[in-house]
C-alpha cells in the first residue's frame, strides 16, 4: 500500500519541513512535482524492483526470488504477480514466504481468493490470500491491490476482512498468496 507507506513517511517529512527554512523550497518542489507524483500515490504497484535497490535505504527489504523462472518476480515486492488482490503486510518480508507464514504464527484456514495472471506462462491462477495470525502487525511491506476486490458483502472476493478466523488468535500479522490451481475460463 504505497500511499500508506507515504502516510508514515510524510508525517516525518512534513514535520521536518515545518521545522526548517527548507520548507519553502520543499513546498515549491511539491507543487512542481505534484501533478506527476500524485498518480503514484494510490495502491502500490511495486517498489520499482531493482531500480529502487540502487538507492535502497536501511528500511528497504532485500530483493527476493522464487528461484523458479516459471514463477517470476520478487515476493517481497508489491508488484509480484500473485499479489493482484492482496491487502496487508507481505509475509515474505516478515520471516515467511509468498506461500508460508512466518515462524510462530498460524495460517488462517479460510480466506478470500483472487485470480491473477502469471506473466511467465500467461495462465490465470486462483490465488488464496491466507492470513498469518497470532502476532501483532508485522509492519513490513504493506501492499494493497484491489484489482479483483469486491465489497465486503461478497466476502470471498473482499480484501478488507481479517481472515484470522478459526485460528487460536484473531491477531493479524501478515498475508500470503498461495496458488490453488489454474482458473477456469469464463466460457
Amino acid at each position: 500500500m504505497k500511499w500508506l507507506d507515504k502516510l508514515t513517511e510524510r508525517n516525518v517529512r512534513s514535520m521536518a519541513q515545518r521545522s526548517s527554512r527548507r520548507s519553502f523550497i520543499a513546498t515549491l518542489g511539491a507543487v512542481v512535482a505534484g501533478a506527476g507524483s500524485l498518480p503514484l500515490l494510490p495502491v502500490a504497484r511495486g517498489s520499482a524492483g531493482a531500480a529502487a535497490d540502487a538507492g535502497a535505504s536501511v528500511d528497504d527489504v532485500p530483493a527476493q526470488s522464487t528461484g523458479n523462472p516459471q514463477d517470476p518476480g520478487d515476493p517481497s515486492d508489491c508488484s509480484y504477480w500473485r499479489y493482484c488482490g492482496i491487502d496487508g503486510y507481505l509475509c515474505a518480508c516478515c520471516g515467511g514466504t509468498q506461500n508460508a507464514c512466518p515462524p510462530g504464527t498460524e495460517m488462517s484456514p479460510i480466506t478470500w481468493i483472487g485470480t491473477c495472471r502469471n506473466p511467465a506462462d500467461g495462465n490465470n491462477y486462483v490465488i488464496s490470500y491466507n492470513d498469518c495470525c497470532g502476532k501483532s502487525s508485522c509492519g513490513r511491506c504493506l501492499c494493497n491491490r484491489n484489482e479483483d476486490d469486491k465489497p465486503v458483502y461478497r466476502p470471498q472476493a473482499n480484501n478488507d476482512i481479517n481472515w484470522c478466523m478459526g485460528t487460536q488468535s484473531t491477531a493479524y500479522h501478515c498475508s500470503t498468496a498461495v496458488i490453488l490451481g489454474l482458473a477456469l475460463d469464463d466460457d
Partner: protein, 449 residues
C-alpha cells in the same frame, strides 16, 4: 512515577521544607539566563539537601517535583522583580488539586469530530481522537482494541466503541465487547460483552450503527456466517441476534430498523420491535450487479436516503425513510466526457452527506478496475435532489476519507494521505485549517452533528 503515594501531611511538610530552604538561601543573584539556571539548579539542590536533612526521601515523587516547581517559580518571580525594578509581587499562586482530570463541556458543538486511527502497524491498539475542527484543539481520546468501531447517541451523550481484544494481548481468550463512554468525561461507564464474532474488517462505518430512535445499537457479525447483534441501550445488554445469512453491514433506517447489502445483489430490511426482536425480515429483488458495477459500502445518508456510489461512478439512492426501503433510480456522477477520462469515485470512505441535500464524493482521474479505494485528489459536490454537480475542489492533499459537519454552513472534513485532518468550507471548498498528529494511520472521520 513513584508508586508510593505520600499522605497529605507529608506533602504539606515537604512544601514547608522547600520554603524554609528558600528562605535560608536568602541570597541575591544577577539576571543572566545562565546564572539563573545555575541558581535554579542550586535551589533544587538546597531543597534536596533540606529533605535529606529532614530524613525524608521522596525520590522523584510528585511531591518533590512540586517542591522544585514552587522553588523555580519563586526564583523566577525574584528574577522578574529584579528586571522590572521595584514592582511588588502579587499574591502567590494557590496550591492546585491532585488528582485533576479535565472534563468536557456538553453538549458538544457541531465543530467536534472523531478521527479513527486504525493503527495498521499495531492493530491491537487503535484509537479515536476527539478534536475541535474550529479551534484545532485536541479534546481527548478513546482507546480501543483491534478492528474497532465507534458510534454515538446524542440523546444519551454516549459513545459506543466496538472492539475485539485477547486476554493476553495477541493471544488468550478472544473477547468482543462494546465499551460505553460518556461525552463529558470520555470515561468508561459500561461494558457489554458480545459473542466472539463481531466483524473484524478494515475500518468501515457500516460495521455498526445506532437505530434512528437511539434505542438499539447494531453490531454486524461475521465469523464467517453473518448476523446482527441488537443491543438495548436502555438496559445495556443484548436484546437479540438476528440471523442474516449472506448479508452484510448495517445501515439504519428512519424507523427502528436497518437495511443490509447481500451477496446476491439484494437488500435485506430488518424491523425491530420494542424489545429489540426482529419483527420482520424482508429481502428485496436483486438490483445490485456486483460483478459488473457493485455498490461501494461507503455510503452517506441524507434526509433518510442512503446514497451509495458504484465503482464506476453512479449514485444509487435507497430511501430508508418509510416502512420499507425503496431502491431509487441510479444517476451518474460524471458526464460522458468525464467518463471518457475515467473519473471515478475513490477514497477509503469517499462520500459525505448533509441534510441540506448536499453530497460530497471523492473522485480520482484515470480510474481503473481496482481504483475504488485509491486516495481522492478532488472532491465533487452534488445536489442530491437535483442529481447535478454544483462544484469541484482540488484538495490540498488527497483524501482517504471524508465527512461533513452538521453546521448549517457545513464544513468538509478530510482525512488526508499524510494522516492529517484538513477542514474546508463545505460549499466553496476553501481550505480553512489542518489538525495533525492524530495517530499512526488515521483512516476515518466521524462528524458529530
Amino acid at each position: 512515577m513513584n508508586g508510593s503515594k505520600p499522605r497529605q501531611c507529608a506533602r504539606t511538610s515537604s512544601i514547608k521544607q522547600v520554603e524554609t530552604a528558600q528562605r535560608l538561601a536568602g541570597r541575591s543573584f544577577g539576571v543572566s539566563g545562565v546564572l539563573f539556571w545555575g541558581k535554579l539548579r542550586a535551589s533544587i539542590k538546597q531543597v534536596e539537601t533540606a529533605q535529606r536533612l529532614a530524613g525524608r526521601s521522596f525520590g522523584v515523587s510528585g511531591v518533590l517535583f512540586r517542591g522544585k516547581l514552587r522553588a523555580s517559580i519563586r526564583w523566577l518571580a525574584v528574577l522578574l522583580a529584579g528586571l522590572g525594578g521595584a514592582a511588588p509581587l502579587q499574591a502567590e499562586l494557590p496550591p492546585e488539586p491532585i488528582p485533576n482530570v479535565q472534563r468536557i463541556e456538553t453538549p458538544y458543538p457541531a465543530s467536534y469530530a472523531v478521527v479513527h486511527d486504525f493503527a495498521f502497524g499495531s492493530l491491537i491498539d487503535s484509537s479515536f481522537s476527539l478534536v475541535d475542527t474550529e479551534t484545532r484543539r485536541f479534546i481527548g481520546m478513546l482507546s480501543a482494541g483491534q478492528f474497532a468501531t465507534v458510534n454515538y447517541a446524542l440523546g444519551r451523550q454516549e459513545f459506543y466503541v466496538g472492539e475485539t481484544i485477547h486476554s493476553r494481548g495477541t493471544r488468550g481468550e478472544r473477547q468482543d465487547v462494546v465499551a460505553v463512554y460518556d461525552f463529558a468525561n470520555l470515561a468508561l461507564v459500561a461494558e457489554i460483552d458480545l459473542p466472539p464474532r463481531r466483524a473484524n474488517t478494515v475500518i468501515n462505518k457500516a460495521n455498526s450503527g445506532v437505530t434512528a430512535d437511539e434505542r438499539f445499537l447494531l453490531v454486524w457479525n461475521q465469523n464467517p456466517g453473518t448476523s446482527v447483534t441488537v443491543i438495548d441501550l436502555d438496559r445495556r445488554e443484548i436484546a437479540s441476534e438476528v440471523p442474516t445469512p449472506g448479508c452484510a453491514l448495517v445501515y439504519p433506517d428512519d424507523d427502528r430498523g436497518f437495511i443490509m447489502l447481500c451477496g446476491n445483489g439484494a437488500l435485506l430490511s430488518v424491523k425491530l420491535d420494542e424489545a429489540g426482536q426482529a419483527a420482520s425480515v424482508e429481502s428485496s429483488d436483486p438490483f445490485n450487479n456486483i460483478d459488473a458495477d457493485p455498490l461501494s459500502e461507503k455510503a452517506s445518508k441524507i434526509n433518510g436516503v442512503w446514497h451509495f456510489v458504484t465503482y464506476q461512478g453512479k449514485v444509487q439512492p435507497v430511501d430508508a425513510s418509510g416502512d420499507e426501503p425503496v431502491v431509487g433510480a441510479r444517476w451518474w456522477l460524471t458526464d460522458a466526457d468525464q467518463r471518457a477520462q475515467n473519473w471515478r469515485p475513490a477514497g477509503w470512505h469517499g462520500t459525505a452527506g448533509h441534510n441540506s441535500g448536499l453530497l460530497w464524493v471523492g473522485m480520482t482521474p484515470a480510474g481503473y478496475p481496482g481504483s475504488h479505494k485509491d486516495p481522492a485528489p478532488e472532491i465533487w459536490l452534488f445536489d442530491a435532489e437535483a442529481k447535478s454537480r454544483l462544484d469541484s475542489f482540488t484538495l490540498r492533499v488527497p483524501a482517504l476519507s471524508i465527512g461533513a459537519s452538521g453546521h448549517d454552513e457545513p464544513r468538509l472534513l478530510v482525512v488526508n494521505i499524510e494522516g492529517q485532518l484538513d477542514i474546508y468550507d463545505g460549499k466553496s471548498g476553501a481550505y480553512l485549517r489542518t489538525i495533525g498528529a492524530l495517530g499512526e494511520t488515521p483512516y476515518m472521520v466521524h462528524s458529530l452533528p
